[in-house]
């Protein structure tokens, strides 16, 4: 569950987000839509507590911004699956190792990690490419690895920041279908930030529109 209550965060060099309030319930699919620079990434960063609000509060999976100290932020992030536009894969690790990293962080046994990684890579259709490095994979395949990495730990919430931004239209649709399908199967809450309205028309999900740092009614 995610809740923003009157959240404001402004940057020194420009606007941020102002008086943002919304709630995302467990298992819900939400599209956070708006043009570039509208504040979508800021909202996601506030959600995974990379940024903290100057005013108001954010609650994510029981973690409250005003009560969560920096050193406990990693504990929140272990309950989240993050997917980024630029994939954020570790370049010197193959697909298997990339998917395994968050599972090592949680401290699962090697056997459990092996099972979950192979299962996640199979789910995203990459079971034949487990030992390929990111540079040996296409953009779509890299994003599939990132989705497998996010899904493998069965997160309560998946946050995707422009997950299709670097992909062509056909692959973008495929990736969005995969992400939403796996999240639904897993019972995870999903928030997808995108500037592409056409993507949102293809999926049954709630739309939250943002422009110039403010939510539109």
């Amino acid at each position: 569950m995610i809740e923003f209550r009157d959240v404001t965060l402004t940057y020194q060099r420009g606007p941020g987000v102002f008086d943002i309030s919304f709630q995302v319930d467990t298992g819900e699919l939400v599209f956070l839509v708006g043009p570039s620079g509208a504040g979508k990434s800021t909202i996601l960063k506030l959600t995974y507590m990379d940024l903290m609000p100057q005013k108001g509060e954010v609650e994510v999976n029981g973690f409250l911004t005003y009560r969560t100290r920096r050193r406990y932020v990693p504990l929140l992030r272990r309950t989240l699956g993050l997917v980024f536009q630029d994939f954020r894969l570790l370049p010197d690790r193959n697909a298997y190792e990339n998917v395994a990293v968050p599972l090592h962080i949680i401290g699962l046994s090697r056997r459990e990690i092996r099972e979950r990684v192979y299962s996640a890579l199979e789910d995203v259709g990459l079971s034949e490419r487990t030992h390929h490095y990111p540079r040996e994979l296409s953009g779509g395949e890299q994003q599939r690895v990132a989705i497998a990495r996010a899904i493998a730990k069965n997160p309560a919430v998946i946050l995707a920041d422009e997950p299709t931004g670097n992909l062509d239209a056909a692959i973008a649709m495929e990736i969005l279908d995969l992400l939403t399908f796996l999240a639904e199967e897993n019972g995870s809450t999903v928030v997808v930030a995108t500037h592409d309205y056409t993507l949102t028309t293809r999926k049954q999900g709630r739309l939250i529109e943002i422009n110039e740092g403010r939510l539109l009614d």
């Binding site: 920096r70 504990l75 992030r77 046994s109």
Partner: protein, 296 residues
């Protein structure tokens, strides 16, 4: 927990292998630093050994009144033993004094003079903690005040020279060592910082995925330890090689061998590990600052 620990250990080893070039730079920097330290350690311990060989210089010769008989002189000699700072004493009776005279000058005083005018005497060795010019002087002065002692002789000037050079060597060594150590920590942490800088994206991603700072730091520490061990092995090899060369050259001219101190390997490896760990922790600290994490 064990699974996580073994993962982090293997990450440290693998990350060393993945970044071979920066690793080579840091390892060589550590090796070079330890080479300087190891060399200085060998020089200082050999200097210490050489000065210990000169311990016969910390000897005081005592001459008793020539009018005293052997027995009377021995009675006076007994008083020497109670003086503080003396490790051993030896009594030289008149006959032994004549023998020594003959050994040194080739003349038998009994044959030349018909009588033995040489006084009985004593040799006193100064205990280890008292081997400074000031303390030896004080011991000699005390001996000189004992009735029946007519003369006290010791090589005071030589003792003072040894003392002075030893002091210069120790203080100089300490000062140079401190400067080299500070320079080494700076150099090593800067070299390691360069290799960590290349991994800052990895650090960010790990933090985004929920890794704690401890989790991120651990493999870098393992890397630091390994670089330290590798660097010290290289330095040790070079020091031993150089010692062999120096000894080979020395053998051609003098009967003296430069020895390898027995603690050298352990000392160099420990120093290497300390340098590697300090270097790593200093470098990673900046990248693990919460202000710098994730938001780059």
């Amino acid at each position: 927990m064990i699974s996580k620990l073994s993962y982090l250990l293997s990450e440290g080893i693998r990350s060393l292998w993945r970044a071979k070039l920066p690793m080579l730079g840091s390892t060589l920097t550590i090796a070079l630093t330890l080479l300087i330290f190891g060399g200085a350690y060998v020089v200082l311990s050999n200097f210490d050994r050489a000065t210990r060989r000169l311990q016969t210089q910390y000897r005081v010769d005592i001459f008793f009144d020539p009018l005293l008989s052997n027995q009377e002189a021995f009675n006076v000699y007994q008083k020497l033993r109670s003086i503080e700072g003396i490790s051993s004493t030896e009594f030289i009776n008149k006959e032994r004094a004549a023998e020594i005279f003959k050994q040194e000058f080739g003349e038998d005083v009994m044959e030349v003079l018909g009588t033995n005018p040489l006084p009985a005497g004593g040799i006193v060795l100064v205990a280890r903690g008292y081997r400074t010019a000031r303390r030896i002087n004080r011991i000699a002065d005390t001996i000189a005040t004992i009735p029946g002692v007519t003369d006290v002789a010791y090589r005071g000037e030589l003792v003072r020279v040894i003392e002075r050079y030893l002091q210069i060597a120790v203080y100089g060594g300490l000062a140079v060592g401190l400067i080299v150590l500070l320079g080494a920590v700076f150099l090593v942490s800067n070299t390691i910082k360069l290799s960590i800088y290349a991994k800052r994206d990895t650090i960010d991603i790990l933090y985004l995925l929920g890794a704690t700072r401890k989790f991120i730091r651990f493999p870098f520490m393992v890397e630091g330890v390994l670089q330290g061990v590798l660097g010290s092995v290289v330095a040790l090899g070079v020091v031993i090689g150089l010692l062999d060369i120096v000894n080979y050259v020395l053998e051609q001219f003098v009967l003296y061998r430069v020895i390898q101190p027995s603690y050298l390997p352990g000392w160099l490896v420990s120093m290497g590990i300390i340098l590697g760990v300090i270097g790593s922790s200093r470098s990673i600290r900046k990248f693990l600052n919460p202000k710098n994490l994730g938001t780059r």
